[in-house]
Symmetry: C2
Subunit: 345 residues, 2 copies
Amino acid sequence: MKIDGRWRRAIEESDDRASIVILDQTRLPYETHWLRLATLDEVAAAIREMRVRGAPLIGVTAAYGVAIALAAGVPLDRAIELLAATRPTAVNLRWALDQMRAQLAAGARAFEAAATIATDEVARSEAIGTHGLPLIRRRAGSPVRVLTHCNAGWLATVDWGTALAPIYKAHEAGIAVHVWVDETRPRNQGLLTAWELAQHGVPHTLIADNAGGHLMQRGEVDLCIVGTDRTTRDGDVCNKIGTYLKALAAHDCGVPFYVAVPSTSIDWRCTDWRTIPIEERAGDEVRSIAGRGGTMQITDGPVANPAFDVTPRRLVTGLVTERGVVAASREALASLFPDLAEPAS
Amino acid sequence: MKIDGRWRRAIEESDDRASIVILDQTRLPYETHWLRLATLDEVAAAIREMRVRGAPLIGVTAAYGVAIALAAGVPLDRAIELLAATRPTAVNLRWALDQMRAQLAAGARAFEAAATIATDEVARSEAIGTHGLPLIRRRAGSPVRVLTHCNAGWLATVDWGTALAPIYKAHEAGIAVHVWVDETRPRNQGLLTAWELAQHGVPHTLIADNAGGHLMQRGEVDLCIVGTDRTTRDGDVCNKIGTYLKALAAHDCGVPFYVAVPSTSIDWRCTDWRTIPIEERAGDEVRSIAGRGGTMQITDGPVANPAFDVTPRRLVTGLVTERGVVAASREALASLFPDLAEPAS
């Protein structure tokens, strides 16, 4: 999508085709800084430090990491092991690494295999946008008021985004939209969402994570759309911490709650959402806040920092996938993705 | 409660008995700064700027503000009008001003009337602690894990607190408690809660506002206790923005959700919670965050900042009042406070 009026992607190949260039998301929204990653260690660190973040983008970055590692003579298994360990919750990461292994075994060249994964990711995002557009178009409001949590925009994918893709499609189609953007403490990814919406010219308002329930109570939200880091085969959604609270409020207030689900986020082996590992991130993310001019400490006391929660499928109105919108259920997902679904055990 | 091992109150009379001294809560938890308020304008500004905050403490401060104004020859009506306009949502503010007017009409001396309101406030808080203690004592856990939102501690009252009073009583009774403290963006009153719990030696962990639902899903919360800025006669609770989201999660996860309700927070005339005015505070509270060393801007984009939300009574397990614990219903409240309840219209 657009930065300063130019179309860009969150990850791009260098001209040398031996390294990649990413938009350093730890410096956004204050600085637009492109960072070149030329070694396996640099790629792994960029994922771990959340310089790239968002489940789909993590997968694509890891795929390129494999290509970069192989070009430097690092054994494939070592590269995959190191990259797989960078973040525990998102399932796209492992999916992308599995894809790379399969493509390489089939004789593909590593950089081309990674580029294919990136291209497919963009196609999936755009298709999610196309399928999600009618959900916005059919609302009466002018503007249609959409609430989102965290950043599931093009910064989190490669282009278009997942949750934001239908919003961009609506904006491009001339439909008036207004986005309520959750701040998303502790890392404030809402600021990334606000930044990319502003760059693309989409009206929006940043709110504290506490505010969304009140706005829904007062009838000021027409629908919610969020992303997912891991979706169970039954349609339960593991996404950024706090998503569950917004889903509860939407359910209580009769506001439709949609989840944008690229098929790469579906964990077909997960039969119980309670078994999904929830990443506990560093306490300093809660103890400090990043802002203009750096990072400020707000406390030095005891903190906890779980990074994700699960929204049970009973709270989800529908899943917006690259093949269409379906109910959050095993049957619906399996019938939409018969080629991917594993037989029920 | 204790600061550096000494028992203090959040508002104290000066030795001259013509001014008051408050703990400046905008400088906590980074600085323990006591501020002398000697004029009506200073008192009104301290309330408006949230140097004192918390519904009960606002009421007591306003009562002293009346006394200070009268001593300087300001007409009673002007003083009450100015003080009533400082904050729109808390009902204790108006209650305290009405009390002052009634006491003065009955011939009381102004400073003594204000001191009586303060003393009564402390007695109410301590009684809430006494009545709430069994709710903690009866839980099996060791420690008993309590989640709270915002600051309804002694900083928000004068001593003991409302939501924190049962926790302090449990701690004093030797019961092991552990408090999950919501950060409470945008103003991070959770840092005040963490600070006062730390000063008093009560174990606690600060969490992002997004985290509580996940902790309840995982069975890591035994009960929730929050305060209230305005309670309808039917038992609906208007409290700091985000309270509603935690009540929804508690309800969904089967976690008891209690509200500490001093009778002074009950608006006996409010028959529909949708009519409660919700204060929209300055956008800069969302655009910036206060921390060690000052205030940092996180965005200069569009923001919204509603300060309160309503938790409907169906989500409330019980109200902990100074006369006992009751169901959140008109009948229960009216039978507990027959002297205060107004006849149903």
